[in-house]
């Protein structure tokens, strides 16, 4: 089983410096890419069927293909989204701390593909170790001529900057991220126009997730078909899967796309902790719908998870066990989302705090039967398209599925006027 992303990452030794990275074949993709036409790279990435690992799962090459390529003089930007703030998600941290050159290489190739001359790593503040390593790695890459002017004598220029955030989950949303980089409030922008056309400082911009970008060098080196062959299922490549909650070995593993939930929990996470029963899980971060026991055998790829009524999201799973109150669990999530709402659009700004208050009152034994209708009303009216960005619809996913799968628990709270878990 190949693990291209993590093969050189080990928690037992420090991350690779440039020399080590080159010695294991690092930066070969850059050498190869510059011999190719930019559009060729985009095509190759598109053919590889690499889908964005930031949550939405859009074909990466396709996304790049919307960048206008006719004006060579135009400033364009490439941004690595390393904001990772989705609760329950800790996958990009590994790539950033484990092998920063892999990301930088992926960024150089990607920037070349869209002919961007300025790139940013947008890193969340809390990853200060990663910040140190990336800063160092960027300096190394400049020194080695992989960044800066006239890279490897090709005439291609690329600047790279590290930007560290200062809080707010919204910054991970790609258009809000652009505003944050511009020194503004991180409220999202409308699409269209897409960032590919009018992005950072009004210029064409690509924002990709760290894991997405880390895949790029390997696709360039080994080809689109190889990438597809990594996974037995519909979606290509490997995926960083993670599990947190009451399992024996919470953690993160690079596995073929389409590994089942059961395999993940039982084989890789060592099963549920003694005395704890699996009740459900958010398969890919806080803004995905619960999956429950009946779904344990579905493949964790975009299509299969969607067919089961949820989303693969970030691929990092949070497990709900039988000692944890589902109402409290969902309340915790809605508290998070209400806090992190940017305050721009009405449903999210006003609706999320309302759901949070209702959930808290139910949890405290003060719920009323009609509260469940109110919660359902929110899940119905805060769907995609009704709000300005995807934050609120994401917030509704665990709530709507929670109401569906754990309705009895909600009702019990209301009927017994207390939380059965307290």
């Amino acid at each position: 089983m190949e693990t291209p992303l993590t093969q050189h990452i080990s928690i037992n030794r420090p991350s690779l410096n440039l020399k080590d990275y080159v010695s294991v074949g690092g930066y070969q993709a850059v050498h190869r890419a510059i011999t190719m036409a930019p559009q060729e790279i985009t095509k190759m990435v598109q053919d590889s069927n690499l889908k964005g690992r930031g949550g939405a799962g859009f074909n990466t090459g396709m996304k790049w293909s919307f960048v206008p390529m006719n004006d060579a003089a135009q400033t364009k930007y490439l941004i690595a989204n390393a904001d990772e703030m989705e609760p329950g998600t800790f996958k990009d941290r590994l790539l950033l701390e484990g092998n920063p050159h892999q990301l930088i290489e992926g960024m150089i190739v990607s920037a070349y593909a869209i002919q961007a001359n300025i790139s940013y790593v947008f890193l969340r503040w809390a990853y200060n170790k990663a910040a140190r390593l990336i800063r160092y790695a960027i300096d190394e890459a400049y020194a080695a001529g992989y960044l800066g002017k006239n890279i490897l004598g090709t005439g291609f220029n690329l600047e790279m900057h590290l930007h560290t955030g200062i809080g707010r989950y919204m910054c991970g949303e790609e258009t809000a991220l652009l505003n944050a980089l511009e020194g503004k409030r991180a409220t999202p922008r409308t699409k269209p126009p897409f960032p590919q056309v009018s992005g950072l400082f009004g210029k064409p911009t690509i924002v990709n997730n760290v894991e997405t970008l880390c895949n790029i060098p390997h696709i360039i080196n080994k080809g689109a078909d190889w990438f597809k062959s990594l996974s037995p299922g519909a979606d290509a490549g490997t995926k960083l899967y993670g599990i947190s909650g009451k399992v024996n070995k919470p953690g993160l593993w690079e596995l073929p796309m389409g590994t089942t939930m059961r395999q993940l929990i039982e084989e890789h996470a060592g099963g549920m902790k003694n005395g704890f029963k699996f009740r459900g899980a958010l398969p890919g971060g806080a803004s995905t719908d619960f999956l429950v026991e009946e779904h344990l055998d579905i493949k964790m790829d975009y299509k299969s998870v969607a067919a089961a009524g949820s989303r693969l999201g970030t691929g990092t799973m949070i497990i709900l066990d039988d000692h944890t109150c589902p109402v409290g669990f969902v309340h915790n999530l809605e508290h998070f989302f209400a806090q992190e709402s940017c305050g721009w659009c009405t449903p999210c700004r006003e609706g999320l705090p309302w759901t949070e208050k209702i959930l808290l009152s139910i949890e405290n034994g003060e719920g009323r039967p009609e509260d469940l209708e109110l919660l359902e009303m929110h899940t119905k009216y805060m769907g995609p398209g009704n709000t300005f960005c995807a934050l609120a619809p994401g917030a509704m996913e665990p709530l709507q599925s929670g109401l569906k799968y754990f309705r009895e628990d909600f009702e019990k709270h209301i009927n017994e006027k207390k939380c059965p878990w307290r």
Binding site: T190, V197, G343, T346, P347, R349, E350, W354, M377
Partner: protein, 902 residues
Amino acid sequence: MAVIYIDDKAYEVKPGKNLLETCLTLGFNLPYFCWHPAMGSVGACRQCAVKLFKDEQDTNGRIVMSCMEAVKDNMHLSVDDHTAKAFRSQVIEWLMTNHPHDCAVCDEGGSCHLQDMTVMTGHTYRRFQYKKRTYKNQYLGPFINHEMNRCIQCYRCVRFYKDYAGGKDLDVFAAHNHVYFGRAQDGMLENEFSGNLAEVCPTGVFTDKTLKEHYTRKWDMTMAPSICQHCSLGCNIIAGERYGELRQITSRFNGEVNGYFICDRGRFGYELVNSINRVQQPLIRGKIPDAVDKQSLYNHLNEILSNTKVIGIASPRASLESNFTLMQLVGKENFYQGISETEAQLMRTILHTMNSGQIHTPSLKETEKADAVLVLGEDLTNAAPLLALALRQAVRKKTIENAGQINIPSWHDAALREFAQQEKGELFIAYPTQTKLDEIASDSRHKSPDDIARLGFAIANYLNIMAPAPEGMDDDTLKYARQIADILKEAERPLIICGTSLYNEAILKAASNIAFALDTKDKKASLCFVVPECNSMGLAMMQAPSLNQAVEVLEKGEADTVIILENDLYRRGSKKDIDNLFNHCKQVIVLDHLHNDTTNRANVLIPVGTFAEADGTIVNNEGRAQCFFQVFMPKNENLRESWRWLDEFRQFKNGTSPEDLTTPGDLMDEMVGLMSQFKGAETVAPPADFRIYGQKVPREPHRYSGRTAMLANINVSEPKPPEDPDSALSFTMEGYKGIPPSPLIPFYWSPGWNSVQSINKYQTEIGGPLLGGDPGKRLFPETPVAENAFLNNIPPAFKPSPGEWLIVPLPHIFGSEELSIYTPGIAERSPKPYVAISKHDAENLNISESDIMQVQIRDQNYALPARIKEELPQGLAGIPFNIPGLSGIAWPAKGILTKAVI
């Protein structure tokens, strides 16, 4: 045209708009908050949801925000769709979770956008049962009241204040459901357009503080369409009265002129009407008692006028009707403009250009669309505020066009601003000091008036070699002139702005030359003149001699008596000259509404109505004649229009006995008959006998309350409402309830639309002209009627002369205008007298900021604190124009500056 289907019915609509505008234009009642016709769409409030279907077959559809969808041919949508309706009502319920429900005590109550939308969506019962979040309010200065708890976070306030008007001291703070709109600290809102917050805010967060001082519900006011009297632009306003007091001014939409907005001087400067300084009673000074009735007044006047040689002195702030009746009374040969010769000459130069019909004089609306602008010698924010606001939009035009290339429509405000970033169009400014618009200018230069003119001449010469070139220009200025010339040449809609503020004729000529030169290049160039007062243009068109000539006539003894119409002459020349004028008069007869230095000199003083108590026509800077209508009938029967006094007196003089005096016929008809240059002015508004279904247009909304009770403390029987013989408006709530002709709109109201948003129902299309066309008539020819040669007389370059300074007048939006200063808030914001001097001169004179300087202008001495301005050219000094304590200067002025010895 595109065809769209709304709830299965086909409609022909204009492409390029968004769905919300289109639905509103079609008459649908679709609620919204964050969208504003002048500010575009941002999609924040999610109120305007409709169902959009993929095609005819699609029955599921999806919810979209209509303000964010472009109209496309063959679109299928539903406004009535159950889910869309339910969602819209849900949005209101969300907004209401934290709203205080304090309508009963809210200034906005009953004319509230939020109330209207709440009713419209059908949201009735509150299901949110938790604590509301509460905020602290801020002190925001004398104009605007702040009540944050009512906020529904539509972001319109910051979008107007910051993005549209360029304000810096209002913003949105914090995040999630704690967002707060206000200042960093309590304090005065600095932007000159802050009053519009009261209209763009859909709730009672930002309200008119001056209204609060004498609060009245909107529907309890008697209102009339009016024209702002505080600068030359002629913004359309609605003025409201109750209990004999003027209560509020709001903007009155005119698609060609001010659009949706007005400036703070115009909105808040109305307290002169309620001032205790009003002249209340005809006075004959020297008589005991001096207050007299009409009969004795007429007798007295008759006696004076039959024994003296009378001249009439007119006024640029009086209506055409009043000026005309004065002319008729004294005779054309005895009729003088009440402005200085310098100003009269400037106006003649402007008229010369405008009469040629060769150069297009743009409306305010058109200036918004210019793609390259040159401002010569005007500080627009202070001299013609709404023009400054228009330029703030104009500089965005080019980027909006660029954005169109990547399919961002012009209404998509959010995307436009992100695309455009800091980029701005071409705006060049030449003025002695920094102006507020410098911040959005591509380049601004600070020069003496003559050097501004020379720059202009040089630009014209680059554009057309036939235009005379200034000699001895330095390379840098020449390069600058060439750069501007090139940009103007490239532009699609170049605009030149100049005016009278610096009292420099050469600037006007240079600007005309540039416009002519562009015209010879087949460019549709526009030339916009800023003139001093609300009817300066109308007065100039009457072509009478100036005040200086009146003085000559008096000095020569050819006349010994003056009738002064609504004009404080002490603001028009040096104190010495005006004193001299009065000293040569046997009798001084003054008609005015407020006591001032001139009324103090009157032997006979006659009170007259302000714009609120009078009808009249005035001509704005573009030559547009516009009518204002009497708002209310004052209890004081002496407060009558000047034209009524003057015309009646003419009748009396001709032998009509007092009981037979009649209201003059249509004065404008008579005037146009005698002076053809005013042709068209008589058709600005429907005549007094105009009726709709036999009915007049009511000044009072049908909800007007308390009519039978408001005077009950005096008399329980309800008095007969006053009649208005002069216009088609009535002083009652009875009359035609529909939409009146656009010049007669006294207020906006439509069933279900009680807030100012009801304006939608009065327009042919959203944001477009009012039904039946925007009011006002342009009086100047629109096509060339005379050949114009390039103008010459290029002044030599300015050289500082040792010991003597060229003093330039610096206009201030708050303070420089005679009448608005009667509003305490405006007086509060007026600068204290100062003298601006250049850094270099300050160093030479050993002056530091705020040091007191002696300023001697002719024989007048002023002790003024210094304001050191780095950018001011050496040898120039600036004095705030006509602010209290600093009137009585003959412009242009020279002066001697010395450090005061204490």
